[in-house]
Symmetry: D3
Subunit: 196 residues, 6 copies
C-alpha cells in the first residue's frame, strides 16, 4: 500500500484545531463532495487568508452572469495549465468534466485550447483569459472588441479576467506550497458521454 | 485645465449608491490618506469582489510577521513592474517610499531590483517574489533553502509568495480595467532623506 | 448523438486503398488495441512517411536499453505537453498509465513534471528531455554529467534525447494536421491502483 | 548620514586628471544642470569612448527633425525600461518630465507605455521604438507604413530607430558598469502641472 | 597541422564493422559527394535508427511535389538556424547554395530569412516553417490560408511542415551528439553566380 | 545578369555630394578593402551620425587591450547573430575569418558559439557578450568573477561589453535600414587553413 503522500510543504492543521467557521466550511464541502479537496486543508494553515480566498472564489465562481459554470471552469483549466499548476488543472479539470458533461474537454483544454472541441465563442473567451494570464499589460480596446464580436458584454469580460486573475493567484499559492491534488479528482467525470 | 481622466474602463459607482460597508471602508481610507485611491472606486463596481479583495489584502499586508511593511511594499513594486501594472507600481511605489523613509528606493526597485540599494536579504526576497510572479511552476526546495540562508523562515516564504500571488491577481485586474493611479501618488514620499 | 469529429485536416484513406504493408500494420495494431489509434490513419495519407515514421518509432520505443517502457512514455508525455500536442499527451498519457500501472502519473507529468510522483532519477531524465525539446542548442557536458550522477550511461542519454527528438517531430506533425486523439485514450489506465 | 554610494564598478577619474576637452564638456554640463550627471563621470574612464558617445548622443538628441524633444525622451524612457536600465529610466525620466512639462508622464511610460497619457501618434512611435529595442530583426515595410499612418516620415522613422538603437547601447553600458543615477534626478520635474 | 577534431560525443563505428546495408549507403554517398558527411558516421552508431532516419529523410527530400529542391533546403537552413544546429545549417547551407545556384542565399536565410533575397512565396513558406519549428501548437486555418494565397496547396503545406518537423528531430540529435559539420561544406557552392 | 539590389531602405548619397571628411573616410576604406562596405554608404545618409558611429567603432575595435582583433570580431559575430543582423554577421564574419586565419570559425560562432572551435577563455568571453546583448539587466559580480577565472581583467570586461553594446546599436540600425551586406564578404577568408 502506497504511503499517504504529503499534500503541502507547510503544516496541515487538524480539523479540531481550526476556527469554527473554517471547520464548518470544510465539513460542508466534505458533505457535498464526499472528500475534502486538499486546497481547503492546505490554506487552512492561514485562517484569515482561507476566509478571504474562498469568499473571493465564491464571488467569482458562484455569481450569476453571462458565463456558464462550465465556461468558468474552462478558464481555470486553461490558465492553470499555462501556469503549470497541477492542483488546479487536475481538480478543476474534474469539475469541468462534470459541469460540461463531457469526459474529454478538460484534457483537451489543458494541453491546447486552440485544438479543443470548443465553440468559437469559447475559444475567444480562452484567448482573452490567456492574455490576462500571460500578457495582461498588453490588454486594450481591441481585446474587448473581439469579445464583443462573440457576444460577450463588458461585464462578461470582467468575469473572464477576474477568474483568470484569481487563479493567477491560486496557481502561485499551489505551486509555492506543493499543493497536491486529491487522488479522487483524476477519475471524476470520465464516464463516456451518453449517446456517444 | 486638464480634463479629469477616466479612472476605469468600467462604470465607477457614486459613493451614495454603494452598500454601507463598502462606502464606510472608502470613507475611512479617505480620512486617513486625504484622498480615495482609485483602486477602491474601480473595484466598488463589484461589491462582493471588493469585500474579498480588501479582506485578502489586509490579511497579507497588515498581519504580523517577519517582513517589515517596507519589505512587503518592495514585493508589490517589483512584481507589479514585472507585470507592467501602472496602478500598482505608482501607488505602492508611493507607499514604499513612505514606509522605507527613502525617496529613491521605489524607482530603483521598479526598474531593476538587482541594482537597487537593498540588503542581500532583501535582494533574495525579491528574487523569490519574482520567481513566484514569473515562473512559479519551477519553485522547489532550493528556493526555500536560499531564503533560509538569508534568515527567512518557511512562514516568511509563504508571506513573500502570498503577497506576490495576491498582486499577480491585482495587477491583472488593474491592467484589465485600465485602472488609473491617482495623481497624488507620484509625488508622495519624494522629499529628500533627512541627513542626506 | 455527437457527429464523428474530424481526425485530420488532410484526407484519411480507406483501409482498402492502402498499400498492403501499411494496411497490415494498421490491422495488427487494431487487433492488439481493440481500435486504430488515429496517428496510423492520419499518417497513412503518406505511405512512405508512414513506413519511416513507425520504423523510427519502433527502433526507439521497442528496443532494449536502460530505460523502462514507462520511462520512455514519461519522456513522450512531458515533451509533448511542452509542445502543446494534444494527440501525443492524451494517447501516450494512456500508455504511460498502463505501463507504469499508475492512474495518476500521466496527468501529473503533463502539467508539471517537477511536482510529479517521480524518483529523482526520473526527474533528472525529464529535465534532460525538456532541455532537448526546448533548448537543445545549449546541451553540453554538464548535462551528461548530471545524468551520470543518476546512473544514466551515455547510451541512455542518447535514448532519452532520441525519444525527445522523435516526438519533437511527431508533435509538429500532429499539430500541423490537427490530429485528433481517439476518445478511447482518455479513460484507459485510470482504474485505481491495486492496494490503494 | 548615508555614505556616498558607488557610482560605477570602474574607477572614476578626478576632473583634474581628464583631457581638457572631456573636462570642459563636464564643466559645461555642471554649469547648466547644477550637478554632473554620473554618466559623464563613469564614461570619462575611457576618454575616446566618451567623446564618441556624446557626439553620437548630440547628433540624435539635439538635431532638428519631426520629433519633439519630449518625444525623444519618451523613446529613451520606454526602451530603457524594457532593458531594465535604472540610470537611463531615472535620469531621462527627469528630462522627459521637464521637456513635456508633465510630472506624470515618465513613470507612466516607464511602466507601460500602452496605458500612458499619450496621443495615438506617440503610442505608435513607442510601439516602433520597442520593436527596435526588442525585435529589430522583424522590422519590415508594415512598420514604416504604420508610422506613416500617424504622419511620421521615413526620416522620422530613422530618428526613432536611431534613438532606440543608441540607448540599446547606452543601457548595456550602464548595466555593465553599475552606473548609478544621481539622487537629483528623482525629484526633478515633479511639481504639479500648472492649472491642474 | 590541426589534429582531426571529434565528430561525435559518441563512438563512431569503423565502416568495416557496420551492417552491409548501412555501409553500402555510406559508400554510395561517398561516391557521389567525394566525402562522407558526418551525419552518416555519427548516426551509424545506431543502425536501426540510421535506417529509419535516412528512409524518412529520402521520403521528404527526394519525393516529387510542389517545392523545388532549393526550397526544401531553405526550410532546413532557416529552421536549423532557429534551433542553433551547426551541423544542419552548415551542411544544408552548402546544399542550398548548390541547388539554388546562389552563393549568397544560405547565409542570408540562416541569419534572417525576412531580409533574404527571396520571393514573397518563399518568405511565406519560411514563415510557416518557422511557425512549425517554434510555435506548432498555434498552427491553425489562417496559416493554411496564407500559404494558399501564395499558391501552396495543402499537400505543399504538409511537405513544408514535415521537413521542418523532421529537422526539428535532426537538429536535436545533432545538438545532443555534438555532431560536427565536415570542413568540406563551408566552401561548397560559394563560387560567384555566373553573369554577376 | 542580376539587377543591383537595394543596399538601404533610405537614400544613398553619391560620393560627390558628401562632406569632405566623410568622403575621405570612404575612399580610404575603399583603398584598403578594394570595395566600399555598404555600412559606410548607408550611414553617410546622416553625416553627423556617420562621424560619431565610426569614431566609436574605431575607439573600440582599433584600441590596444587584452582582446585580440579576432576575439573582438567573434563578439561582433556572436551578438549580431543573436540580433538577427545579416549585415554584421556576414561582413564581420569575413573579417573574423581573416583575423583568425580560420575559414570555419565565423559560421560556427554565428550558429552556436557553444559548439564552436573555441578555447574555454573565448567561450566565457562570448557567454558574457551574449549576456550583455540579451540580458544586460542581470549582469552582476558573478559575471565579472567568471571572466576573471579565465584571465580577463575588469578592463577586458569593459571592452567585451562595450563591443557587444556598440553592435547592439549597429545591429538595430542595420535591421531598421535593410542594410545589405556586400557580395564580396561572403567568400572572403574562406580559403583552407594552411597545413590543413
Amino acid at each position: 500500500m502506497r504511503p499517504t503522500p504529503r499534500i503541502s510543504r507547510f503544516p496541515v492543521p487538524a480539523l479540531a484545531d481550526l476556527p469554527d467557521d473554517v471547520r464548518a466550511r470544510i465539513l460542508q464541502v466534505q458533505d457535498k463532495a464526499g472528500f475534502v479537496p486538499n486546497v481547503f486543508l492546505v490554506l487552512a494553515h492561514r485562517p484569515d487568508e482561507f476566509r478571504a480566498f474562498f469568499a473571493y472564489h465564491d464571488a467569482l465562481m458562484l455569481k450569476e452572469g453571462g458565463l456558464s459554470t462550465a465556461e468558468r471552469e474552462m478558464i481555470v483549466v486553461a490558465t492553470s495549465a499555462a501556469n503549470q499548476c497541477a492542483y488546479c488543472v487536475i481538480a478543476h479539470g474534474a469539475i469541468l468534466r462534470i459541469y460540461a458533461k463531457d469526459p474529454l474537454i478538460a484534457d483537451q483544454v489543458a494541453v491546447n485550447h486552440g485544438k479543443a472541441d470548443l465553440a468559437p465563442r469559447q475559444r475567444a473567451m480562452l484567448d482573452f483569459a490567456l492574455q490576462v494570464a500571460l500578457r495582461s499589460g498588453a490588454i486594450g480596446d481591441a481585446d474587448f472588441a473581439r469579445l464583443a464580436e462573440h457576444g460577450f458584454s463588458d461585464e462578461d469580460a470582467w468575469d473572464i479576467a477576474a477568474i483568470a486573475a484569481f487563479f493567477a493567484m491560486s496557481n502561485r499559492l499551489a505551486n509555492m506550497s506543493d499543493m497536491r491534488p486529491n487522488d479522487e479528482f483524476y477519475l471524476m467525470g470520465r464516464t463516456p458521454r451518453p449517446g456517444h
